[in-house]
Symmetry: C3
């Protein structure tokens, strides 16, 4: 298979084949030393990444900007839509037409679902979705699956438990579609009003085994993927309380010895800090994987 | 003529001679491939541009930052005066004295007329006016005239129609002074309270033919230069309505076949999106010309 | 003495030995041409500085960013905590763990005392305190002492008068500890409620001669170090008025001929602009020294 990603927009993981995901893993592996040894490459010097964060996110922004700079490229960026012409009534189309003359590749984060698709339709250069509303966050799914591959050697045969807000969590949606390519089992646990959207459940159930957990029993998990439940999602504060959960040292003892715990960050209370030093805690390594994976993505897209 | 721009502040187009404008065009032409082939040059590596946007403008900021990076240079920037010491009562003079020790060249955007002049008086390094209140936006005029030169081959003999808010439009003011160097005709149409300031009209009328249009008749135009009319400029909303205009496919049919349509952006409703795909639409090309023109400007100023 | 600073966090000047301060001076001297000739060095190309300004400060931020870029390195930055995950409830610890995978070195400015220490405990890469609340601003003290060394040849034997808000001024606190290494006299003048904290006074009095001035008599000073008194520090506006001071040409005439005047900026009214052109005014040179000193610091820390 030729490089699947060359010159391509990355908007969703929905139709991304297994081989394409594996291509990113294998390329990312070569860039691990960008984190472990802070190594830089003079590979895309003179190239410009436009980092358009209509909705703030230091984490994704820093990860992309570091990836671009470790490849030798440079950045133009905004991190606040209020300072852009969008606040004067300009359309996203006009903004993107302006940006495409400046940059070689665009990453866009926006609060509206479909914004990245709109941008990709407007631009003649590759557009990467850095998160659009409650829809998708495909580069997160690539770094998430890379972390599972890195820690467990393969994804086939794994039981992956997704817990928390599965309805609004775009990282969950992108990860579901990515995992549907592999021979794994997905366990799900969430408050009733925050279940995975039916349309995604239908899509992935054809390809992968999905089990809805009655209670938060993680004893079968190879990978626990925890996400934040925002209190604002509930009308009733008591109900919010009922469904709040904390993974602490005690919960970890009930897991498999070689289970790993992941989280897309930011965390608030979902994982106690006492877990940070346990061997199961994979979330800091996962986060750091954003850099080699995004280097692999940028490198592939820039061709 | 030696390079007119070397080491010079660029505050206004008022006294800029024709040859200096043509120098920028000819240099910009060599940098067109920075847009068409996203080419970068390792010409000013190690140089620093200070991008001081006291008033937000992603478009001008991105254009300057891209130009500097395509030349191999780097950037220090702010895009929000609230995060600067100006909000603690510091003078622009003190801010500029600080910046001049950091950078090789400054671009400043400010809501107050004359701010760029103040900055230039304080700084021992070149200062470029990126727009000061309703006064001037000289680099916009350079890219505007470059676009006319690129699309029409020459400016002499052209009829250029400026429409919209001619009073507060700093791009209009700078363009008027630039065009006064050429043997062209300037047609003007605006609401009565948004006419070109008399002082500018007097200045340019000595050098160039100016015609005030009774109605929005663009049938003689070689270049239609449209600008936005902000509703807030009118006391009476009905009057705002009366003077709002839209250039659509129908309006274009009434223009000369080889007329071009320009706009300094952002647009809101002045030009219908159906016009975007017509051959007369030159505004996206115009916008993209910001990069080679600003590369030419930075290259000249840095010497 | 080997390079004291290699790989080290810079959180405070409290326990920094004299030799370490002198090491920075001597290295900074070699980088003076980064200001005088805007010279850049290709020494740390590929290295990334994370510039984390939870509290805005264009001056310190520009100075660090310029220093890093003049050394060939690049930057990831935020200048407004509201756009970070901290606003979603993330801890500084989690933010720093994220940043450490991106960058080679961190500079942090925060409104809370001790924030830099927290960051250093979380990070495996060097952390530089760019100012934490009313606590410390150690790189400012390094550039301040470098300026005294540059202008007066040595610090031993000097009488240095610190005036203004000595309680809340973190630059004052850092400078006091740095000066305690030298054989100099520190004169102090401040409103009664804005005196130097007793704990700092105790610490430095063991090592250096401290004199509290009854009135603002600067006739013995070799170095006048002026700081701003914020009106908000007083309950009574009349009292604020009583303790406000202005150094003007008249005050300078009463100083020693070869005295120098310093200020950490921003200034509001403490030093009249008529003083700017007098030979005693060292504050613009002091400010510009931020660049070679921070180049020396980054160069030493990066090793």
């Amino acid at each position: 298979m030729a490089d699947y990603w060359a010159g391509r927009d990355i908007l969703s993981t929905r139709d991304v084949p297994r081989e394409a995901i594996e291509q990113i893993w294998h390329k990312a592996k070569k860039y691990d030393d960008a984190v472990t040894h802070k190594k830089s490459y003079d590979k895309h010097s003179g190239k410009v990444l436009a980092s358009l964060f209509f909705e703030p996110s230091t984490r994704t922004q820093f990860s992309f900007q570091t990836a671009m700079q470790r490849l030798g490229g440079s950045i133009i960026a905004f991190s606040d839509a209020d300072t852009t012409s969008v606040s004067k009534g300009e359309t996203v189309y006009d903004t993107i037409r302006m940006v495409e003359s400046c940059a070689d590749v665009i990453v866009i984060r926006h609060s509206l679902e479909g914004a990245a698709r709109l941008a990709a339709d407007a631009a003649s250069i590759p557009v990467i979705n850095g998160g659009d509303g409650a829809n998708q966050h495909p580069t997160q799914a690539l770094l998430d699956t890379y972390t599972m591959f890195q820690k467990k050697g393969k994804l086939d045969g794994l039981t992956i438990s997704m817990i928390g807000d599965l309805k609004n969590g775009r990282t969950i949606h992108s990860l579901c579609y990515a995992l549907a390519n592999f021979d794994c089992t997905i366990e799900m646990w969430s408050p009733p009003q925050l279940k995975l959207p039916q349309i995604i459940l239908n899509d992935i159930s054809e390809k992968v085994k999905v089990v809805e957990l009655e209670s938060l029993d993680l004893s079968n998990s190879d990978v626990v993927y925890a996400t934040r439940i925002q209190k604002e999602r509930f009308d009733d504060p008591e109900e919010a309380e009922r469904y709040s959960y904390v993974i602490d040292a005690e919960s970890v003892r009930k897991m498999k010895d070689d289970a790993i715990i992941m989280h897309p960050f930011p965390r608030v209370d979902e994982i106690a800090t006492e877990v940070d030093s346990l061997p199961q805690a994979a979330y800091f390594a996962q986060e750091a994987n954003g850099i080699p994976v995004r280097m692999a993505i940028l490198d592939s897209v820039l061709g």
